[in-house]
Symmetry: C2
Subunit: 149 residues, 2 copies
């Protein structure tokens, strides 16, 4: 096999993408059952974990760009899953919070998420999973240092 072919097969972005898809695949039905996308679920998880946040904070916590988040919040708000109230101290900011139905959805889905993690940890090995997390973290650090970003 030529070097070109090998480097294409082993493209790092594609390997990372494939891994991500594999990890999420069997969890997606639990989200689809509530008509939620992976991104919408990230927002719900973040709000449940860290409490009310404005959209900029959510953007960082969920690793979503503002325009995506803006649309996601509109969608979740129209479905009664989150609530927005404008901040008193800064009228530009909107504080987002989970509604009671939002909490309930989290409570229904969270166990499926845990199950998925346990499944992956058992199959792959907890040690290797921990190692993978550390490698990914270090990879990002080293790249961003070097990119001066």
């Amino acid at each position: 096999m030529s070097d070109h072919l090998r480097s294409f097969d082993r493209s790092l972005p594609m390997s990372l993408l494939r891994a991500r898809e594999a990890v999420m695949k069997k969890f997606m039905p639990a989200l689809k059952a509530h008509n939620l996308s992976a991104q919408q679920w990230r927002v719900i998880r973040a709000l449940e974990a860290a409490g009310d946040m404005d959209i900029s904070e959510l953007s960082e916590a969920c690793y979503l760009l503002m325009p995506s988040l803006s649309r996601i919040i509109q969608n979740l708000e129209s479905r009664g899953i989150v609530l927005r109230k404008s901040s008193n101290s800064d009228q530009r900011r909107s504080l987002i919070s989970l509604t009671e139905p939002g909490h309930e959805i989290f409570t229904e889905i969270a166990p499926k998420s845990s199950e998925r993690y346990e499944f992956i940890s058992e199959r792959f090995g907890p040690g290797k999973l921990e190692l993978l997390y550390e490698l990914l973290e270090e990879l990002v650090e080293k790249i961003e240092e070097g990119d001066a970003g």
Copy 2:
């Protein structure tokens, strides 16, 4: 920090996503200079490496779904980067090939891609990079075995 918070911060899909973004970040300008997306570049690379392919083969090689690929091929065809001719043996299939301008674009961008890999390999360490590839591959294998998929 609560278990919920920790598991959110260390969400495997988000870690994989972040790593992917870091890897690609400084390479994107080389693509933008030719008005290419990462996905369009994958198609060009695959055609350069493995020669003419039909759209189903490209779909597997580039890890893109058919609807996305369908639009990407239309775009690249309209820009004269690829060419399509319907197969004689099976009128349903379209054979896609790189045009001469398509080859030239590959030749201009490929060195930037190699530079990026060398940069990452140097910063992160070739051994760790190899280990990461192996872990990602094994993760996918183990998950897909268990998912019976």
